[in-house]
């Protein structure tokens, strides 16, 4: 019993350890408090900012942009990926482009996007959507291409038409990789949104806030914003994992 309770407590161990080390480091003056605030004070700033402070507004803007970018990427990336995935020749013809831009750090394209979209809110969403769509497209396409042949054969032997095979087997077979794509896609969207908020003139958002607090050495606010961005990324990942387990209930079984 006691051991069971201990095991349930294990996931909390890492964070607690980090905060203790952090706290001791600052108290021992190993790092100047000007650069690193006390964890307690940082958490207090985080709580203040989120409950009635302006951090909540910035958090809201970042969430909104991430969802806009991710939404666009998912709406186009999944169907296009499935379409190209079910036509290998079509996929081969664009494979290089997809792989090339997937390997290009999307942040390298920010100046290019600035020339097209200007220093606008749309620009931040557009670059994040671009980065996200590649990941989603790629995973969806490979999901269809790598669908287990035997289930396709089972459907064919039962007399299913190519369309019925697509609708009843291929889509379902590729759901799991599609979710992998969606999960990586939303993380990618968040990363690029934060970067864009930092470097494409912005009045709000977590990225903007982090840079701003750094400029004026408001380190408590900076760390609070960083933790906030981290928590957002973590929560999005968990959300999609839970959704995936709900929908793709047969995965790994």
């Amino acid at each position: 019993m006691a051991l069971d309770r201990m095991i349930g407590f294990l996931p909390a161990l890492g964070p607690i350890l980090l905060f203790v080390v952090w706290d001791l480091t600052v108290r021992a003056r190993l790092v100047s408090p000007v650069l690193l605030p006390l964890p307690g004070a940082t958490l207090a700033t985080l709580a203040q900012g989120l409950f009635g402070g302006t951090l909540l507004t910035d958090f809201g803007y970042t969430v909104l942009r991430t969802f806009e970018a991710f939404g666009i990427a998912a709406v186009f990336g999944v169907p296009l990926g499935i379409l190209f995935g079910s036509n290998q020749r079509a996929y081969r013809s664009i494979e290089f482009l997809v792989d090339f831009f997937r390997s290009t750090p999307s942040s390298a394209l920010i100046p290019l996007f600035m020339m097209i979209f200007g220093v606008t809110d749309l620009n931040k969403v557009a670059i994040a959507a671009f980065a996200s769509i590649l990941v989603i497209f790629f995973n969806s396409a490979y999901g269809v291409m790598n669908a287990r042949k035997q289930r396709v054969m089972a459907a064919r032997v039962m007399g299913a038409s190519p369309w019925q095979i697509f609708r009843d087997v291929l889509i379902w077979e590729s759901l799991q990789p599609i979710f992998v794509g969606l999960r990586s896609g939303v993380s990618m969207a968040l990363v690029i949104v934060i970067v864009a908020e930092m470097f494409i003139g912005s009045d709000n958002g977590l990225g903007h806030r982090i840079i701003d607090s750094q400029q004026v050495l408001n380190v408590r606010d900076m760390y609070a914003s960083i933790i906030c961005a981290g928590a957002l990324g973590y929560a999005l990942n968990i959300f999609f994992l839970v959704l995936e387990r709900r929908i793709v209930h047969w995965s790994g079984r």
Binding site: A154, R156, V157, M158, G159, A160, W172, H249, W250
Partner: protein
């Protein structure tokens, strides 16, 4: 609509049911299949009378599964014709049972919907589908919950479900590719008996690929023994023992003799 499966199987009814079917003799002519430049089948001929269980047995790599896969339309062949009562594959109904039931059932559908899937493809009404499923459940004496997902069932239950799925549309020919090889002995016995019952009730032609000689002979009317590649017919042995065959069949002289003869031919072919 033939729903003979709704009634418990009796040999007498079985004969009546098989007489009702259109004769579906299978004839294979000049079947040729090259595999990476090497002939696997070269001008292969085979005749299988309707309403028989044919066990396919032969050396490793001789293309037992490939043969039934070509017949079932799952693998393309280079030349030749395969006709079922003079008709092509598109004009008849077939059922197929895979060795690997785990990758043959659709895990996103509940087991009952898996079994109903081929019926839905045929565009049957809901009532009709429900009626057919009921008949199958009765005939297979299903004790497990069909509303579970396939992955929640045991291996034997999953294979039972895939056989029910294959039989649901009342196929003219049922292909079985090593259906027992991933099952434990108890489940193998159970499914073997069920297949025999179905056969006696419906007279469905069955082609069974097997790597277990006892199992191959036990179920078969004909044992198709194949050679090494390029594959030819080594011999077709009849086994005329009356049905239902039981555990006692396994120790009868005719069974032992047929099995020994099959083994002899098999070993001759392996050593060749």
């Amino acid at each position: 609509m033939n729903s003979s499966l709704a009634t418990p199987a009796r040999p007498q009814q079985g004969q009546a049911a098989s007489a009702l079917r259109t004769p579906m003799d299978i004839s294979i002519r000049g079947l040729t299949k090259y595999f990476v430049g090497q002939p696997l089948y070269d001008n292969f001929d085979l005749d299988i009378p309707a309403a028989k269980i044919v066990s396919v047995f032969g050396p490793n790599g001789c293309g037992k599964s490939t043969l039934i896969n070509m017949m079932a339309g799952l693998i393309a062949y280079d030349a030749g014709t395969i006709l079922f009562g003079g008709r092509g594959l598109g004009e008849i109904k077939i059922g197929y049972v895979f060795q690997n039931y785990r990758e043959a059932l659709f895990p996103w559908l509940r087991t009952v919907d898996n079994i109903a899937y081929p019926l839905k493809l045929e565009g049957r009404s809901k009532a009709d589908v429900a009626h057919r499923i009921e008949a199958l459940v009765a005939s297979f004496d299903v004790k497990f919950d069909l509303h579970r997902y396939p992955y929640e069932l045991s291996g034997g239950q999953q294979q039972t479900a895939s056989i029910m799925r294959a039989l649901a549309p009342e196929p003219d020919v049922l292909f079985l590719d090593e259906p027992f090889s991933a099952l434990d002995f108890e489940m193998t016995l159970f499914i073997r008996e069920k297949l025999q019952e179905v056969f006696m009730a419906t007279g469905t032609t069955m082609m069974l690929v097997s790597h277990d000689l006892e199992e191959a002979v036990y179920l078969a009317d004909l044992i198709l023994l194949l050679t090494k590649r390029p594959t030819r017919i080594a011999e077709i042995l009849p086994f005329d023992e009356a049905r239902p065959r039981t555990i006692a069949t396994l120790s009868e002289a005719a069974f032992i003799h047929t099995k020994a003869r099959s083994m002899e031919i098999f070993q001759r072919e392996v050593r060749r």
